[in-house]
């Protein structure tokens, strides 16, 4: 097992290298530099700035320097906002995004599994229909529609929660409700559908019939025999779910004006702030890759048939 974990951890390295390299070069070969403003800078000034950020060196040198810095955990200075490090921005905004993401994914998993299981067990009853209708909404309606609509109904018309703001900035804790629900919706829907279908599949399997033939009660069969097997597809969906949460947070943070990493990301994309873009992508990738790693480990612990060769 330990060997397996170590091997998987080593497997992460090339992926991360590819990500860093790819985003570094995409950004560098792009037309339009960060210092292209409306008014042209005098040549001397431009050269000075480029020298300061080492933009005058050959691309390979820049790449090597950047890689070295990244390995030390230094994502470099921001191109746009003078005197600030990318690290500073990321550490300032990342906690907000993590809080939002963790709450959202918890909501999605908790409600998704519960309603999926209920739907499967009470197949073809109103419980089933209701939770599947909700799931279809979650799958069909993009979150940038769900977000504003929820905002319009619950914040503007009913005034139950604030329209926007963020609790770390001194606003009410209620500010987190709508963003978290919005962000959770799509993953809730997929998890609910996955849970339902894999639960139904499991309930039809031979070993559940065996358990029934033993005279076990239905609730025991579901929790002891069916649960583990039917959770496997759900666990393997968690990787894409994390990716979805990260992508979704970009929109949700924009809609609800949350000072998180996603909002920064969009801004820096518009600003062509090279180092900030690459920095944010690296942080996101590290999170994503490690989440996938953890999901893999959980999966292999759930399924005894997997061997750690």
């Amino acid at each position: 097992m330990t060997k397996y974990i170590v091997r998987r951890l080593l497997g992460i390295i090339p992926t991360l290298l590819v990500i860093i390299t790819l985003s570094f070069f995409i950004v560098r070969v792009a037309p339009g530099g960060p210092f292209d403003t409306e008014k042209a800078l005098p040549e001397v000034v431009k050269r000075n700035i480029e020298a300061k950020y080492h933009l005058d060196e050959p691309l390979v040198m820049q790449y090597g320097r950047y890689m070295f810095d990244v390995l030390r955990g230094d994502l470099g200075p921001s191109f746009r906002y003078k005197d600030w490090d990318v690290n500073f921005y990321i550490f300032q905004s990342l906690p907000n995004s993590i809080i939002l993401g963790v709450i959202a994914i918890s909501i999605a998993i908790l409600f998704g599994i519960t309603s999926g299981m209920l739907a499967a067990v009470k197949q073809n009853t109103w419980v089933d229909y209701l939770s599947m209708a909700l799931a279809v909404v979650g799958i069909s309606v993009p979150l940038f529609v769900i977000g504003p609509v929820l905002q319009y109904i619950f914040a503007m018309q009913l005034q139950w929660v604030p329209t926007s703001g963020w609790f770390t900035a001194g606003d009410s804790w209620k500010t987190i409700i709508l963003p978290a629900i919005t962000l959770a919706f799509a993953d809730f829907a997929t998890i609910a559908r996955l849970t339902r279908s894999s639960m139904l599949d499991t309930l039809r399997s031979d070993y559940i019939r065996t358990a029934k033939a033993k005279g076990m009660r239905t609730s025991l069969i579901i929790f002891k025999h069916a649960m583990k097997g039917s959770m496997l597809p759900v666990v393997s969906y968690l990787g894409p779910a994390f990716a979805g949460i990260i992508t979704g947070s970009v929109v949700v943070e924009t809609v609800f004006r949350i000072p998180g990493l996603g909002k920064f990301f969009v801004q820096s994309s518009f600003n062509r702030d090279y180092t900030l873009i690459v920095g944010v992508v690296i942080v996101y990738s590290v999170i994503l890759v490690f989440m996938n790693f953890i999901v893999d480990i959980i999966y292999s612990m759930l399924d005894p048939r997997i061997t750690y060769k």
Partner: protein, 338 residues
């Protein structure tokens, strides 16, 4: 709960006119259409037929394990020790399942839960029906595994199913089924998924243990060889109905129904292998959806008469416990009435 009724019944199990139908897109599938048979204490009954004739459905119906929807038991009675299983409540039914009647399924590969250790699965079986501690249940499980011939049972019991071979898994299934000393053991094609060499071992094991524990056994199979070696009585099923019912020796000596005759003929025999072709029954068993009233076997029957095409034959008693449903054994009067 764990106290078993000591009252003796002549028949452990009486199935009367059982009908199990499936509602499908194409129509109503009458998988089991009015069958009756008895099972005595200690008796071994074989149910034989081609695949799709309703053998397995019959036995799932006895346990009320028909997946519903689409399946439904639409009629008949199943008496176990005098009480009608079809009228029991869910909790009364649980008391019978696994405890009074237990089952071994066809495919040992999928019938054990791959996510739980063998020990967990065996202990829970015992603990559901008997009021003993987990430790005692573990002891008993190990004993049972030893009984079915699993080497090194004490340590192997903590393994997962995928760490066992097919034959070993079927042994585990048997151990599990017998661990509560059930009165009836239903074995649904217990050897179909196994190698030939293992088949004989498993069957022997079932036979030995059932004698030892005085368990009544129903064996479902399409293999007449299995029946000949093990069963006291045989029911031959065709298209959801029992076409012939007899003592095993009787059936082999004097097969009455043309279908039974064909079945027996088509068993490859070493002593006849050289002088001639293998016998086979021509054609396919019918699709049991919307079957018209006729003898379902008539298209494949060499002795078919006009009446076979319009009317299902009545059941005739040909002597001691030998019943057959075929127009051949009726007189002209009956045929013209039909």
């Amino acid at each position: 709960m764990s106290k078993k009724t000591t009252k003796q019944f002549d028949n452990m199990l009486e199935v009367r006119d059982l009908k199990t139908h499936f509602l499908t897109d194409a129509g109503i599938v009458k998988a089991v259409d009015g069958i009756s048979f008895d099972l005595k204490q200690g008796e071994t009954l074989g149910i034989v037929g081609e695949s799709g004739c309703g053998k397995s459905v019959t036995n799932l119906s006895i346990m009320r394990l028909i997946p519903s929807p689409p399946g439904k038991i639409v009629g008949g009675e199943i008496f176990f020790e005098g009480q009608d299983i079809l009228k029991l409540s869910e909790s009364e039914l649980r008391h019978i399942r696994g405890n009074m009647i237990s089952m071994i399924f066809q495919d040992p590969m999928t019938s054990l839960n791959p996510f739980l250790k063998i020990s967990t699965q065996m202990i829970e079986t015992i603990c559901i029906h008997q009021d003993i501690s987990k430790k005692a249940a573990l002891e008993k499980s190990i004993d049972m595994l030893n009984l079915v011939g699993i080497p090194d049972a004490k340590s192997r019991i903590h393994n997962y199913p995928h760490q066992f071979s097919g034959g070993m898994r079927q042994r585990v299934m048997i151990a599990m089924a017998l661990s509560c000393e059930a009165k009836i053991l239903i074995a649904d094609e217990p050897t179909t998924a196994l190698d030939v060499t293992i088949q004989a071992q498993i069957l022997e094991l079932i036979q030995k243990l059932s004698r030892q524990l005085n368990t009544s056994v129903i064996i479902i199979t399409h293999d007449l060889g299995v029946v000949a070696g093990m069963c006291d009585n045989v029911c031959v099923m065709y298209a959801g109905k029992i076409v012939e019912k007899a003592k095993t020796e009787d059936l082999y000596a004097h097969p009455a129904h043309p279908y039974t005759f064909g079945l027996i003929q088509s068993v490859p025999r070493l002593d006849k292998a050289k002088n001639g072709r293998l016998f086979s029954i021509e054609g396919q068993p019918p699709n049991v959806i919307d079957l018209p009233p006729c003898c379902p076997f008539h298209p494949r029957c060499e002795k078919a008469m006009d009446v076979c095409r319009t009317q299902y034959p009545p059941t005739k008693n040909l002597g001691e416990h030998h019943e057959v449903s075929c127009w051949l054994y009726t007189d002209d009067q009956e045929r013209s009435n039909g």
